[in-house]
Every structure is written in C-alpha cells, then in structure tokens.
C-alpha cells in the first residue's frame, strides 16, 4: 500500500462495518431485533472499496445484504439500529427492517431488498438522472445469482446502447442462498454479457487498497460510468456467516470452512 492514509481510512470503515455486524450478533438473541439480518461479514471490503470511489450524490442500490453499503455510504448508525428495532426513528420509520435501509430525502440513496432486480432498478434510476442532465452515477449491486436473470442481460444491453451512467457491481460470493455456482450457471463469470467495459477482481483484496488505480479499480469504474460508459465490476468475495441470521453454517455441510481457515492463515479475519 503506497498511501497509508487511504488505507487507514478504508480499513477504519471496514472495521466499523465488522463491529456493527458483530454487535448485531450479540444483540440478536435478545429478540429486540425483529428483522431478519443478512450480515456483511467477509464482504466489507467490496462496499468500502466501491463507495470510496463515489461522489456524495451518487446512488447505491444494494441487496438485502446491505449493511456494509449503508455504512460505507455514510448512513447514520442511530437510524440503522432504530430501524432494526422497529422504532419510529428508524431509516424507514421502523417499518422496513434490515433489508430496506433507504434514507429518504437525501441525494445519496440506498435501497435494499432482493438482489434480482437491482440491475434494472439502478439502470432506470441512472437513466432518469441522465435525462435530467445530472452527473450522478447509480451503482446497482447484486450477487452472482442475479446474473442468471433475464433482466440482468437486458439492463446491461440497454445501458451500453443508451450510455447510461451506471456501475453494475457484482458481489460474487459463489452462492445463491445455499446453492453453489456450478449448479446454477452454465457460463463462466463475466463471459456471457453484452459488451461493456468490464473487469473482474481476483479473490484477494476485494476492492480495498489498490494503489495506482489499475483499470479495474472502483474509482476508475465509477469515473467510467460518469462518462456514460457503463461499467461491470465483478468482485470475488466470501460470506463468512450463514446466509440469513447470526450463526455459522458449516455444520450443514453445504460448504467447507477451509476457505475461511485459508484466509485466517494469511492474517485476514
């Protein structure tokens, strides 16, 4: 890492996300949090790295696993926890829960809930912004599973043709709930879509700390989208905890803990 200050800033935000998620794990057995929670533990770097390349009025459309993006985008922690507790002071008045952390009345919006249609939602919003002559970029976040949806292909095609300022961000953790990629996809990651500027990040690093802005760097991706060249950025990452909830899930034997041990052996917690 050439720039110590950048690293510290990014690490601090990633650590904040991790600590918030661990606090949720502590609180959950008390049943004060009524909402189901899909934790970002293991995937913090993607949110932190990408949001760092955005401007304050850029929009992020995240999935149900959105705590990391909400925090990386500067969302209020008080409002987030109030939302989890179902209180009036929550982000959505306590009525929407963990999956729909959407601060209203702010330019930097974030919408949670269901990854499948985010490519389309982000693309539509960016198109609206484009028509108004604004320079906003919309980031549509989705998992690898969403790339199997027809609307994903349509969204990329439309964005490329109409030069919509959207960054399509795939958080590729290889899973759709408990289903592994080979059971779902007959295509290789990143190989079957309309031609846009695209880049696929290898597993280690995941968006954090690339000095010198190589072509796949989130800042470059966002800048490309702002220039009306929509960008597809796939970042390979790994979910540590179970799909939904606060526990571990290795005892269900659908995935092995060896990947996690590998990361820990390299000093990555």
């Amino acid at each position: 890492m050439k720039d110590e200050a950048i690293y510290r800033r990014l690490f601090r935000t990633a650590l904040l996300i991790r600590l918030v998620e661990e606090r949720i794990i502590e609180l959950y057995p008390s049943d004060k949090i009524q909402s189901p929670v899909h934790l970002s533990i293991g995937q913090e770097a993607v949110a932190v790295g990408v949001c760092d390349g955005l401007q304050p009025d850029d929009l992020v459309f995240a999935t149900y696993r959105s705590h990391g993006f909400y925090i990386a985008k500067g969302g209020s922690l008080d409002a987030m926890f109030a939302e989890l507790y179902g209180r009036k002071g929550g982000v959505s008045g306590g009525k929407a829960g963990s999956m729909h952390l959407r601060p209203r009345g702010r330019a930097d919006g974030i919408v949670g809930g269901g990854g499948q249609h985010h490519p389309a939602r982000g693309r539509r919003r960016a198109r609206a912004s484009q028509r108004r002559g604004a320079s906003q970029v919309a980031v549509a976040v989705f998992g690898d599973g969403a790339t199997e949806e027809g609307v994903y292909h349509e969204s990329l095609n439309f964005a490329a043709l109409m030069k919509v300022p959207v960054l399509f961000l795939c958080e590729d953790n290889g899973l759709a709930v408990h289903s592994h990629r080979p059971a779902r996809q007959s295509y290789q990651p990143g190989r079957s879509t309309p031609r846009l500027v695209r880049h696929r990040q290898p597993p280690a690093g995941g968006g954090l700390g690339h000095a010198g802005d190589p072509p796949g760097h989130p800042r470059c991706a966002a800048a490309s989208a702002r220039r009306r060249e929509p960008f597809v950025l796939e970042i390979a990452t790994w979910r540590y905890k179970e799909h939904v909830g606060v526990g571990e899930d290795f005892h269900f034997n659908y995935r092995s803990a060896s990947r996690r041990r590998c990361l820990e052996a390299r000093g990555i917690r």
Partner: protein, 56 residues
C-alpha cells in the same frame, strides 16, 4: 398435529410417489432447509429428476 408445512410436504411426497408425471420445480426445492420444512427430502437421489431447484 400436522403443521401447514408438514401437510404441504406430505402431499407433495405422496404426489411424487403416486404419479410419475408430477414434477416439483422452484427456488430452493432441494435446499437442505427444505423451504421451512415444506420440501425437506423431496429431492432425494432417486427422485432428483422430478424434484429440482430452479434457483439463483
């Protein structure tokens, strides 16, 4: 007493057993959590062709 999910499971299991032209397809049909217990075990090996997941 049979739960709602249990009733769904029992019915689908019976349908698969009684009628070779019955198929069950949907997101999570073969998930180990069995869609809250309503599809647990339906996709076991002998029937894998007829009970499968379409999930993403």
């Amino acid at each position: 007493m049979l739960s709602y999910a249990g009733a769904l499971l029992e019915t689908m299991d019976a349908a698969l057993a009684d009628h070779p032209n019955v198929f069950i397809m949907g997101q999570g049909v073969d998930d180990f959590k069995g869609i809250f217990g309503s599809t647990t075990g339906l996709a076991r090996e002998v029937r894998r062709r007829r009970a499968c997941s379409t999930c993403r």
